[in-house]
Symmetry: C2
Subunit: 250 residues, 2 copies
DNA sequence: CCGAGACGTTTCTCATTACCAAACGGATAC
DNA sequence: GTATCCGTTTGGTAATGAGAAACGTCTCGG
């Protein structure tokens, strides 16, 4: 725990961050941003280019789509994704809303895949986006089905408030998780984003990995109870099919 | 050009590659793969974890979805993507096939986005995937609309043969590019993958960026001329709408 | 039940290597 | 025309990453 991290590794990813923030930059701009010498920044940029994670466009360096390549390959390799992909396509077609697959990673929720349907909300969400586990319907559904000790670890890490409706009290959150377990699904309306409602069901393909399948839609639609039931029903059907596909190979 | 690249930067991305290949690994495995000391490998892994690009799961380290996060953000930032996203959704709905957006990067083609429709082929393609420019209908369409000097640079780089139907003769390729320019679109059948056909149209939102919008589908369907015309028509309609959207903001 | 080996991790020393300073050549602006 | 910015290259030096050795833990096999 006391092993220091390597300066050059931290720096090269700081350079990556600068290239992201500035949407491309040259040695001078990077040097200024990180308070290092121009020639040093140049070395990092050249090296990033050499390994294919940046491209040199006439002196200014930009991040390469190699990141997208690697990220998508990680996405496709995930077995839950493989099992869920087709069902998510189906959900987007049949509901017209925004079905989303989220998994847990390092104590947070990561959107692994989403596919907007014809009448889907335009949220700012995207594959790879991280959120805390306690702030979304997906995250809470995941949390509700995680091993107790890891739930404790997450709660002990503190419950950051992101909107005025975020549940920040550990006790109230635990009650919420219990009721999610009881219902078999979670419903959030105007919780994370005003005007958005989400229904989510758990996917726990094996004991280690917990995921969730969710559908986001406008609050006014989800407040209609029969429509809400319809979405929950569609999610549970998909969950069953995904389960089977996960177990018995592709 | 003679500046050496930084060893530690090259190494850390070699570690990333090992983590990808092995689907997660510990210091010992990485050390063996790269022929470095275990403690050295440990340092790289710890550092990768510290910057958030790897996660430590009880001694074995895995690549984090941070790559997906960064990759998707790069994708969404691309202005051609922003302009084309909705049209690609529409194409996937209305044709049921596999519409794909590709852009040029560093002398190659990169799939920036694709969205399978209901009856789409299952190719192994994915967002971020790189191909040579001369081996796909998308790539050739891009090449056909690039500035002459950059076309020369690509051709001088050599035309790798990937299938027995790859056009490897520069002269024949130039003729092909000319006819693509003339037709306003490219059609490939059983060229890159047996059983697949592709139609592609160019997107040249401004002089620097060249992209292509394509639809892939089974050869038997595309051999039907009226269907092929239909696809080309749909692509050109989309291309026009994308053009307008690109120029006049979102 | 115990010992051997593998592994992740830590600490330490030394040589490598990444850092900075200075300078070059080109482009741009005044 | 000159001054200043930039990307790039070079070389000397000191910080830093590399490797050896050892600790604690776990797993396996005797």
């Amino acid at each position: 725990m006391t092993t220091p991290t390597m300066q050059s590794v931290e720096r090269v990813f700081e350079v990556v961050d600068v290239l992201w923030r500035e949407d491309g930059a040259g040695p001078a701009a990077v040097a200024e941003a990180l308070d290092i010498h121009r020639s040093t920044a140049h070395g990092y940029l050249r090296s990033l280019e050499a390994v294919g994670y940046a491209v040199n466009d006439g002196g200014t360096y930009e991040l390469s789509y190699r990141f997208l390549d690697m990220g998508t390959r990680l996405q496709y390799r995930n077995r839950v994704f493989q099992a869920a992909r087709e069902e998510i396509s189906r959900l987007s077609r049949e509901t017209g809303e925004l079905p989303t697959l989220a998994v847990e990673e390092a104590g947070g929720a990561v959107i692994l895949h989403q596919r907007p349907g014809e009448n889907a909300l335009e949220l700012g969400t995207y594959s790879g986006m991280r959120t805390p586990l306690h702030t979304t319907a997906s995250g809470k559904t995941i949390l509700a089905h995680m091993p107790a000790e890891r739930v404790d670890a997450v709660l002990d890490g503190g419950l950051e408030r992101v909107t005025d409706r975020t549940v920040t009290d550990p006790e109230r959150l635990r009650e919420r998780l219990a009721s999610i377990r009881e219902d078999g699904h979670a419903v959030d309306v105007d919780q994370q984003v005003v005007g958005m409602g989400t229904v989510a069901v758990p996917l726990h393909p094996d004991d280690d990995h917990v995921a969730s399948l969710a559908i986001a839609c406008p609050s006014e639609r989800i407040r209609n109870e029969s429509y809400q039931d319809e979405l929950v029903g569609a999610l549970k059907e998909s969950r069953n099919r995904i389960s089977i596909k996960y177990q018995y190979g592709r």
